[in-house]
């Protein structure tokens, strides 16, 4: 077939371009993944006691993970569109992490010396990042499916965006079961868990997203 014939073929009765809505794919994917992750973590660890919701701990996690998820979703939508720059969205992700780091650092400085180690390491620093990584897997499947429906041209970065988003949603879910109250702990170990998800996404991107 000649290229001219191909062009005639493609344009004939082509109709308007389909509208691609990132939100319409990412939102259900995230909800479904979060539901699976939530049932897993609640079955294994159970919900935190209700009184904890009157302390700042869970809310810091929820606000941190929630804003990070929004910034990462923005990254997903930019990196799924050829020619669109993801730089601003990446700065947004970085900005959220930096704010959390600063808050964690200030809280660390304000903690009496004898309690600092506990504020930093808690009782679950070894579990937290891996729990977030594990919980991110169902969301990861959904966010990669979303990206598959778009047209990423930078595959490692597009994969990383999916990974960060999944990690942030997983952290949000993990906050329901995690009894660590301290901001320094959240700044370090939650962030590490989310970054692990981003790294896994960057690794999987070139393998799964090519088109």
């Amino acid at each position: 077939m000649k290229t001219d014939d191909l062009i005639n073929m493609l344009s004939r009765e082509a109709g308007p371009a389909p509208t691609v809505s990132v939100a319409r794919r990412l939102l259900p994917a995230a909800l479904a993944g979060a539901l699976v992750a939530a049932s897993a973590v609640l079955a294994v660890l159970g919900m935190i006691p209700n009184e904890m919701f009157f302390e700042p701990g869970p809310w810091i996690k929820i606000v941190y993970a929630g804003t990070l998820a929004l910034a990462a979703a923005w990254m997903v939508s930019r990196l799924g569109k050829p020619g669109a720059s993801g730089v601003q969205a990446m700065y947004a992700v970085l900005g959220v992490v930096l704010i959390m780091f600063s808050a964690g650092f200030l809280s660390y400085l304000g903690t009496p010396e004898s309690e600092r180690a506990a504020a930093l390491m808690g009782h679950s620093w070894l579990v937290c990042p891996w729990a977030i990584l594990g919980l991110s897997l169902p969301v990861m499947a959904g966010s990669f499916w979303t990206m598959k429906g778009l047209a990423p041209t930078n595959l490692p970065l597009a994969g990383a965006a999916c990974g960060l988003f999944s990690g942030a949603v997983a952290a949000l879910v993990y906050a329901l079961a995690c009894t660590e109250p301290a901001a320094p702990f959240i700044a370090i170990w939650y962030t590490l868990g989310i970054m692990l998800c981003g790294a896994l996404g960057a690794f999987l991107g070139p393998k799964l997203l090519n088109w």
Partner: protein
């Protein structure tokens, strides 16, 4: 010269504008690829066709705030890298044309012969998809006529055409 006004009309469903845009884009792609595939001139037209198919199946991902060319060439570059990757020859990605001036670059605006025949690949599609594409895209029936002829609803035909072209794009990739 900006493609954008023409392209925006095409995006909204003007087939004539779409045909013209694709023809212009094909010329730019041919130039782009012939500069970068000097060692593989035979691949140029195939890659132009592959990219046109990809542009078509992904045209929903065009962001109206961007120049059309950013979108087109981001995809073109992706397809070029993909070609090298499939051939396992990343080193050729860096062409040595930097020391030539623009007018010394070989350019091909005329259509080159393609090695691969998309018509043959079309035969490999599932029957329903092939029929939908043949009726509406090759014979040029309107969706309604094609629906009457085939007894398939317009909505289903549209889905078959879309799936068929997507699969065709994948066939083209796996063939190289």
């Amino acid at each position: 010269m900006s493609l954008k006004p023409l392209w925006l009309r095409a995006q909204r469903g003007d087939s004539q504008a779409y045909r013209e845009s694709l023809a212009k884009i094909a010329q730019r792609l041919r130039k782009f690829y012939s500069r970068r595939l000097q060692t593989l001139p035979d691949e140029v037209e195939d890659l132009v066709q592959e990219t046109l198919l990809a542009l078509h199946t992904q045209r929903g991902t065009y962001d109206e705030n961007l120049p059309v060319s950013s979108w087109v060439f981001a995809i073109a570059r992706h397809k070029l890298v993909d070609l090298w990757r499939r051939r396992g020859r990343r080193d050729n990605l860096n062409d040595s044309l930097e020391d030539l001036t623009e007018d010394q670059h070989p350019t091909a605006v005329e259509e080159l012969p393609s090695k691969r025949d998309l018509g043959i690949l079309l035969d490999q599609l599932p029957a329903a998809q092939k029929q939908a594409i043949l009726l509406t895209k090759i014979e040029g029936l309107s969706m309604i006529e094609a629906s009457e002829r085939s007894g398939v609803s317009v909505a289903a035909l549209k889905v078959q055409v879309h799936r068929g072209l997507k699969l065709l794009t994948e066939l083209v990739r796996s063939e190289t």
